[in-house]
Symmetry: none
Subunit: 122 residues, 4 copies
DNA sequence: GTGGTCTAGACCACC
DNA sequence: GTGGTCTAGACCACA
């Protein structure tokens, strides 16, 4: 049996961090766990966490103080929101539309699908 | 690292079979692979495939001839479509709307999101 | 003896590629060597070249076709120029000024330093 | 991967000594480490250190008392400064100008580059 | 301690 | 074949 439709681990870790940010569990400008710490928590290789942190740093969600650690950026929440919106528009919206049309619905049906979810016409 | 956001294996197998049906890879009234055969293909326990077939039989997508094997029902395609529509309405539509509102969009934004995917204004 | 004031290898490789682009040795939209190929040429681990290509992809100098390889982007030359200008302004200009002032010159001396390079006023 | 854009080792050692002088870590007329001592510190062949000391002696930064060792000259700091200025004018200034023009700047842009480093127009 | 880089070697999906 | 990801383990600079 296959289990291969997985999102890469380093992105799964990024997702968890994004959730922490969006739910205000982690505050702006606060230090986040060290690479080794998170790697140990998740039972993952430090390089994998490093990739996560590189990714989030490119997205300007976190920043680094050399020899100290990683910190949430001032604009972490906004940047996270931007990232997630982009992912949503680029991937989930098209997927949703594909599925919708594959099942025989039209895009104009969306509003009615949402309102009466018991509608199974035909 | 956890991988626990998985759909049950027997349902994953069911999904694959549904895909075969919807893409016309498998035709109505044709015999489908035996439990043991599929179990071997997917490297899973035959009991798991049995659960899949029980499930699909309840949905009237397949039926059983004792001592012979399982066959796609006459209305397999329609039943599969019904099943998938139901799943879509029950799970994916609500999930989609949740995410959408979580990111700060309104339901009335859907049409414009679809048309111009570069739209990220709030 | 130390040799440790090195630029990271993956960035040295990036530098070489940038030079190829700036000197028009490599043309826009053309395929560039595969990760393994370049790794072999430079006697370096494929992961190191992968880091180089990731970096250049973020800079929009190259792009990827899955299963095919990496290609120079349409705007490769302009993007490379932008990158190099940024590096120059961020690192080399400040370094130059530091050295200059450390040696007892003033910033206003620059013009005269350039014109008469034999000037070693005490 | 090559690392061949290195300055000769004996000159790298000379650079370190010059730094000691310019930062007043070593005082005028004081004895400096023996050839063998420095060779051991830097894990290099004593002949290499010998070349360094010959070079610095020519530049009148150090002098030798036979059978005793090497000492910083009275004018060590000034001579070091002269040496470094010469190197700066002969090599680094031309290099800087080359790079600057290669990136599309004019020499007259220097002042503005220094003041507003965010300037990337042109 | 921290992160940053590199290697060697592995397995995977896509083409 | 291609790239993408992951692991294990190493060495380094910086603080």
């Amino acid at each position: 049996m296959e289990y291969n439709d997985q999102r890469a681990i380093y992105l799964q870790i990024a997702d968890m961090i994004c959730e922490k940010v969006l739910t205000d569990s982690w505050e702006a400008n606060k230090r986040i766990p060290s690479v080794r710490e998170l790697a140990s928590d998740f039972q993952v290789n430090p390089n994998t966490v490093m990739r996560t942190y590189n990714f989030l740093q490119q997205e300007e969600i976190i920043y680094n103080k050399r020899g100290i650690g990683y910190f949430l950026s001032e604009e972490a929440k906004q940047k996270t929101l931007d990232l997630k919106k982009q992912e949503f528009l680029d991937k989930e919206v098209p997927q949703f539309i594909n599925k919708l049309t594959m099942l025989g619905y039209k895009i104009s049906d969306i509003q009615s699908l949402i309102k009466s979810k018991n509608n199974e016409d035909k």
